[in-house]
Subunit: 190 residues, 2 copies
């Protein structure tokens, strides 16, 4: 992969079941599962985005336990995964962060089960990532998905994951794993 891959998990602005914009709570399983998937598929950094200072502190405390504290000594592979996790207040902050780290442009890719409009498919995005030396930031939403504003301002929209059924309610943890496997793992797996 030529292009560098980053992930953001947004807790704001996301939707609730009625389509209202809310701030969702951080979930421990999201931090661990997505960090492990990110590490498995060569993601450079996994950003957890929350505008609430107490939630950001909580995430930092969890990361600290597994990277600097007792958890990391007990479970080195977990430490390795959580070392790539960062906390940020907004999506804009992350984009600036990546901009400073990388020389090329940052391309944001919105994801979600209900994303509509002109979508990029996984294969095509995988080819672009292979070809262009850009930084790609995959943006995932918690709750009932990303707010419309985030989707509208993204560089690309990734088509929703389809299984064999019309049912389409993967957890965000599962969606991240499948997305990374389709974008990165296909070339390596069989």
């Amino acid at each position: 992969m030529k292009g560098r891959l980053y992930i953001a998990l947004l807790h704001y602005p996301v939707l609730d079941r009625d389509g209202r914009v809310i701030t969702s709570a951080v979930t421990n399983a999201d931090i661990h599962d997505i960090a492990r998937s990110a590490r498995t598929y060569g993601v450079r950094r996994f950003f957890i985005v929350t505008p609430i200072a107490e939630q950001a502190d909580l995430v930092r405390k969890i990361i600290g336990h597994w990277t600097l504290g007792a958890g990391g000594a007990l479970n080195p592979s977990r430490r390795e995964a959580l070392e790539a996790v960062e906390v940020a207040g907004t999506l804009e902050e992350i984009i600036q962060w990546i901009d400073r780290e990388e020389s090329g442009p940052v391309i944001t890719v919105a994801t979600g089960a209900r994303i509509a409009g002109l979508c990029m498919n996984h294969r095509k995005l995988s080819e672009l990532m292979e070809r262009d030396a850009c930084a790609y930031l995959l943006v995932f939403g918690t709750g009932w998905g990303l707010a419309g504003d985030v989707i509208e301002h993204s560089g690309y929209r990734l088509e929703p994951i389809k299984g064999s059924e019309s049912y389409n309610h993967l957890s965000v943890r599962s969606a991240v794993a499948v997305t990374l496997d389709r974008l990165v793992g296909r070339k390596h797996g069989s």
Copy 2:
């Protein structure tokens, strides 16, 4: 898909970090995430296997809340996912259960990050499932993976999921999602 697909999540016999056979505790996130992935990819039934009666009762209580109780009324898609979850005491019980439901033979497929020996790859298994009208039971382990006995007695061993790195520590929730996407979703997704 011609063959019928089933999933089992084993809490016994599985390994701990030191390779000893243990009974692991049931995790709420496993039930929900794997049920949702199973429903998305057309899995007929998702079995949670624990020999501990109190743990089995706990799982039934959680399922009941989301299928019969307040949770299901609030969240119909979660109810739909959890309706396909069953609790069993042993792997043998499940195989007998599927035997009664299905006319053809049941083929067990052991999975795991550390599985070695002669493995079937995802593409090949997907082709077999497409072709043969068998029932396939994918067996996933919690903790540090399935005990050797389960692997040795399975019909096939599925090759471990590889990302782009040598790091290979997906959560079982992520591993189930990626496995189903490789076996079933590839034909539908892009």
